[in-house]
């Protein structure tokens, strides 16, 4: 507790929190619109989730339980360090269980377990502007959003089809929110896009370097862009998770040796561990261990 005296609760000063809180309220009122905010320097480099951390710091209170995931995992560097950051600066309860968390900060995955009403999902976003790689000028992309001029995005998806025969965009797959704003769902695999649609949880997005906050309120229409003859599809996997045998979860390839050996396991570690604890082991655990 003596350590806490050196920081304000949740690290940020109160004036910064007020500024971020005002931006969050606007972001919720205009779903999918990127609200500019005066992003602060954080004690971590850009690209490590400074936007998500600032949003979480502005929202979190002493009664919250925080979960942090990095590519679905609770135990990788980014997740561990951000969790430790909030333990130290806010002294909040932390968990790895999706169902126990009130705030989940995530880098590029949505948990497999269905989110509940009252939960808040905070995304760390590197490039919030979905049109940025098509049009580098902020003045132009802002005008395109204002005029709802999203033809360029469809051209990009069409060029995918012309070149590859299918839409080759697999992550940061653009969505349209409530029939108005085209939004970058952050570099989550497109596998997670359907989970954003009509989610009972509040979704907040923070981009620290790019100084933008945006949001999707609960029960909001989120549609992945597609064509009638090339409908949106999510990734499928030919095999179940090698550890828990789950079919229909998002899998990571884990390299096992330098001879080309690998196995596919759930990217969501909490989901996978829960299933293993329930005794849902792989059909052939020996094979997985090889």
């Amino acid at each position: 507790m003596t350590e806490l005296a050196t920081y304000n609760f949740a690290y940020l000063d109160e004036q910064t929190k007020r500024m971020i809180r005002r931006a969050i309220l606007k972001a919720i009122a205009i779903p999918g619109y990127q609200v500019p905010f005066a992003s602060r320097e954080m004690p971590m480099p850009y690209g490590w989730g400074t936007g998500g951390v600032q949003v979480t710091a502005a929202v979190i209170g002493p009664d919250d339980t925080l979960k942090v995931i990095d590519q679905g995992a609770d135990d990788t560097t980014n997740a561990v360090s951000i969790r430790a950051f909030f333990q130290k600066t806010a002294n909040v309860r932390v968990t790895t269980k999706t169902t126990e968390a009130t705030i989940i900060q995530t880098r590029h995955r949505i948990p497999e377990a269905a989110l509940q009403a009252g939960q808040t999902l905070v995304y760390q976003v590197p490039i919030p502007e979905p049109l940025r790689f098509l049009e580098p000028r902020e003045t132009e992309t802002r005008k395109m959003h204002a005029l709802e001029e999203y033809g360029l995005m469809h051209v990009k998806l069409y060029e995918d089809i012309a070149r590859h025969g299918h839409i080759a965009t697999t992550y940061a797959y653009p969505v349209k929110v409530e029939g108005r704003y085209v939004m970058d769902p952050s570099p989550t695999p497109k596998f997670d896009n359907p989970k954003m649609h009509n989610s009972p949880a509040l979704q907040l997005f923070g981009a620290g370097r790019e100084k933008r906050i945006y949001a999707i309120p609960p029960y909001t229409e989120v549609v992945s862009l597609d064509f009638e003859d090339h409908p949106f599809e999510i990734q499928t996997f030919s095999q179940p998770c090698a550890l828990c045998g789950a079919k229909g979860s998002y899998l990571d390839e884990v390299i096992l040796d330098d001879k080309g050996g690998s196995m596919f396991v759930c990217s969501d570690t909490d989901f996978c561990e829960d299933r293993q604890a329930e005794g849902q082991l792989s059909a052939n655990p020996a094979e997985a261990a090889e």
């Binding site: 109160e14 929190k17 007020r18 309220l25 619109y33 209170g61 802002r142 409530e178 029960y219």
Partner: protein
């Protein structure tokens, strides 16, 4: 002398935790339009400022927030003094310049057109109206639909601006431009973001 004491007293006892508590209620209210969020009375501000509206002010206002208030609040030296001392807000007499509007009497307030709606490029540069009302058990029940609402939410604030249904339809029609409303009742608050579609309940 008494006015001076009123000005300095009655702020948040624990700024950090109290403002977080109010903000979470505000965030949940904005994310779930029309849902009445109970809040504790955490401040004691001079009349005509009611505790919930004053605690919202203490949570959101500072020197970066331009605020317009209606005559009853602007005319009260104690209320304005309290707001200045506890938040450091920037006051304006022009509602279309305001990021926030503090309104003690919804029925005599200016029309929504008087406030900032933002621009097509920056729809966030709009006014958020904070309306002080008595409560959420009014006679006319409204039916709400839109983002944040699963099926239908009913909402019955005790006071509403004049011609509210028509004014709100115009506001909704200007989306993404538009104003957002925060209702500060006794011991509770609720919000209507510009996305909400409102109809009167059929009798």
């Amino acid at each position: 002398m008494r006015a001076t004491t009123q000005v300095f007293e009655g702020g948040f006892r624990d700024t950090v935790r109290n403002s977080q508590e109010i903000f979470r209620a505000l965030m949940d209210a904005m994310a779930n339009p029309g849902r009445v969020m109970p809040v504790r009375d955490l401040v004691n501000a001079p009349a005509p400022l009611a505790p919930v509206a004053a605690s919202i002010a203490a949570t959101l206002f500072d020197h970066d927030a331009t605020v317009w208030s209606d005559k009853a609040i602007a005319g009260s030296e104690a209320a304005i003094g309290w707001l200045k001392f506890h938040t450091g807000l920037e006051l304006t007499t022009n509602p279309s310049d305001a990021q926030f509007a503090l309104i003690s009497d919804a029925e005599t307030m200016p029309s929504f057109e008087a406030f900032a709606k933002g621009t097509s490029e920056y729809p966030d540069r709009s006014t958020t109206l904070i309306l002080q009302i008595d409560g959420f058990d009014g006679a006319g029940e409204l039916r709400l639909e839109g983002p944040g609402i699963k099926d239908i939410q009913t909402f019955a604030p005790s006071q509403l601006p004049k011609m509210f249904i028509d004014q709100w339809a115009a506001n909704r029609g200007a989306f993404p431009r538009g104003i957002d409303l925060i209702f500060a009742g006794k011991g509770a608050l609720a919000a209507l973001p510009r996305t909400t579609r409102i109809s009167k309940r059929e009798a």
